[in-house]
């Protein structure tokens, strides 16, 4: 059983999109997945109402008060628990981080996102130290523009990569399909299995699973 938090101190960097896409991808692969929606906006929960994905259970209204008990319940019943955390620094997020095997830190290639990604990684370090257990993590580039990378985006990306932080090789592209899924309740692999957006999230999920496999082998 794996617990993966999707965290960043920055709002709007793609946490919920990553949580839904990754949760759906793993569910379509046959894993039993729970997605704990800790965001006040409850967008993942709204998706969960529309979605027809038997392996994916979206649990809404997860707050600071009930996050640990909801996590325990989900742990007992699922293969993977994803925690979609709210933006900003919160003790809710810090609780979730301490109980996670792996933390994905989505970031767009902007200075604001990169700054907050490093802050989140520092908080993971603190959580790891106090929890006395390793917490694997990786920054993940999101909303990557296909075909063109601006000078500032490249500068930010190369600067963050130069910091030596673990960063996923796969990036989440900017795709209309990732917005449409909120309307249709269907992720790209359901709506257009052979399309680019489906291939994109498959690549991301493959890399995340590979990280989990490495963690399991090292355990």
């Amino acid at each position: 059983m794996a617990i993966i938090s999707i965290a960043s101190a920055k709002g709007g960097c793609g946490k919920t999109t990553v949580a839904i896409l990754l949760g759906a991808e793993l569910a379509l692969d046959g894993y039993k997945v729970a997605l704990l929606d800790c965001d006040l906006n409850q967008h993942a929960s709204a998706f969960g109402v529309k979605a027809k994905l038997p392996g994916l259970t979206v649990i809404g209204d997860v707050t600071e008060t009930n996050v640990l008990s909801e996590l325990k319940k989900a742990e007992a019943a699922q293969d993977v628990v994803l925690i979609d955390l709210p933006g900003g620094s919160s003790t809710l997020a810090l609780k979730a981080l301490q109980r996670s095997h792996f933390v994905l830190v989505p970031a767009q290639a902007s200075l604001l996102d990169a700054r907050d990604a490093t802050k989140t990684v520092a908080q993971i370090d603190d959580a790891q130290e106090l929890a006395r257990a390793p917490i694997a993590r990786a920054v993940m580039w999101t909303r990557f523009q296909p075909g063109f990378e601006s000078k500032s985006a490249r500068h930010v990306r190369e600067s963050l990569e130069g910091q030596g932080l673990p960063i996923l090789k796969s990036v989440l592209m900017e795709r209309a399909a990732f917005r449409e899924m909120h309307i249709t309740g269907q992720v790209p692999r359901q709506a257009d299995p052979s399309g680019g957006p489906a291939a994109n999230i498959t690549a991301v999920a493959t890399e995340v699973l590979d990280r989990l496999r490495q963690l399991a082998e090292a355990a």
């Binding site: 059983m1 617990i3 894993y31 009930n66 919160s90 809710l92 810090l94 106090l130 006395r132």
Partner: protein
């Protein structure tokens, strides 16, 4: 002189299903009491200026009114409870309430107090 033919890419073009990862190999997180997780979160949160809904220590939510029950249990069970309680530094009442909560009885998290004699250290 002509260039040699490129090697076959047939094997690269064969779609293979993603191997299922055995997640059972991942060890569960180290056991920590909710109170310890909360204390850590409070400490890190203070450092980073995190927003919080954690009650201040002096403003912990009130416990539900309590009542006393009396009954008889086998000696061996009492012995086991005594040992477990000492090992975990909790009370026998806590162990019983914890077991009841796991069995589906309503026990609010705020009322799951490890040891009422040591103040309001809650949760497991």
């Amino acid at each position: 002189m002509s260039k040699p033919p490129l090697p076959s890419i047939d094997s690269d073009l064969m779609a293979t299903p993603r191997q299922r990862v055995d997640l059972k190999g991942l060890r569960p997180r180290e056991p920590m009491t909710d109170a310890a997780v909360e204390a850590n979160s409070r400490a890190i949160g203070e450092k980073w200026g995190a927003s919080t809904q954690l009650p201040r220590a002096e403003m912990a939510p009130p416990l539900a009114p309590v009542t006393s029950i009396r009954g008889y249990i086998p000696q061996y069970l009492d012995d086991e409870l005594t040992i477990k309680a000492a090992e975990r530094r909790v009370t026998k009442t806590f162990l019983i309430m914890e077991a009841l909560a796991k069995a589906g009885y309503r026990v609010d998290e705020t009322d799951l107090v490890q040891d009422r004699r040591r103040g309001k250290q809650r949760g497991n």
